[in-house]
Chain length 217, copies 2
Amino acid sequence: MEVNGAEVNGVRKRETYHHGSLREELVEASVRLIETEGIGAVSLRRVAREAGVSPGAPYHHFADRAALLSAIAARGFDLLTEDLLGAVGTSPGTSRTDDVVRVAAAYVAFARRQPGHFQVMFRPELSQPEKHPAVQEAGDAALKVLTDLVDRLGVADPQAVGITLWALGHGLASLTLDGLLALKAEAWDTDPDDLLARALGQIGRSFDVGDPCTAAP
Amino acid sequence: MEVNGAEVNGVRKRETYHHGSLREELVEASVRLIETEGIGAVSLRRVAREAGVSPGAPYHHFADRAALLSAIAARGFDLLTEDLLGAVGTSPGTSRTDDVVRVAAAYVAFARRQPGHFQVMFRPELSQPEKHPAVQEAGDAALKVLTDLVDRLGVADPQAVGITLWALGHGLASLTLDGLLALKAEAWDTDPDDLLARALGQIGRSFDVGDPCTAAP
DNA sequence: CTCCAGTCTGAGCGGTGTTCAGATTATGAA
DNA sequence: TTCATAATCTGAACACCGCTCAGACTGGAG
């Protein structure tokens, strides 16, 4: 960023009255705050301070706090969709079930790489999707990558398998981000990344079912 | 409830100076508030008002807001453990994989029956488990039901399967509670409960793997 | 009965979301 | 170019929040 303004005595100062790109900077400052101090630290006043702007300024770009968080959530779903699309479709020689594992792994990897976005994406009480339909649309697009993949899998009940895959990726990502997986790995005296990899491998084997005994080796 | 005091003009009045069972009533009022107005409505002041007590009173029972939410989370894990234990072990004639489906179903059912508790249980930034180890212990006890079940399943990698089962139950519960499952069911023009049941059935079939071709019919 | 520890009150501090009148600046039409 | 209008930003204001604390109250041990 640094479009306009400089750090002076811990407070940002601007030369111009108008900020120039306040909307983007508010989003970036929020994501940064979530990652470093947790979502509780994200207040519009704090974010405004971070951007070197008065407490009322953000309200010209976001109707309220929920609108800011909604924007972050929607952007997060867009990024997730990109990642999921990148995971499927590549490596054309591999099987569909490998795609499933790659997609699940991409889901978890996204949560770890963009924790700031992820922590807001599945908090309806924060982002209020009923007031901000863009979040729902972006979320649907991400889910569509999963359902499309499952459709091509040729299973008996694509809807059920799609939901299952989603739940699996989401649950794994949540447990990872909440530190519960790392906690369990410590209790079991094993490496968290290894445990995660083994769980993902388990998913692949699980999704071979349907007609498991006729599957090619 | 109604141990002491009565609703007068929208505000609770007490006859005695001491409340009698303030701690319990604060917890119950909080859970009620989460279920009706969302977790954002739970402030110590509001909960105190709800119990007909001054703003400072709760601090004699809970060190801070996180301590109150921790108590709710810990209680929630206890209830979840009970439910999971009830799901496994019953119906002695059925198979282990049936147990898996029943446990996963119990997990989701718990989230739907106790949404107030569930919404707090997996929010480390709210309940601050590092400051309140009781939450972690209660959570470990719940997870142990899953890992014990998986151990008796005789799979190759019990840890990975245990994590997978946890993630699946948790993901399914989260998506259900966030309304995303219902949303998807509407888009697919199907019944949410039916979709959930089908996904749970999918889980059962998935967990038959390990050596699926040698499994007894 | 006395005393004390635990409970509750109510004021107070700094921070928060949100609103609003007014100051400042960008934009585009004449 | 000029100039009106729209967009942006300021800073004060209100109500609410978490949390602290001195003091009022009371149940129960001795």
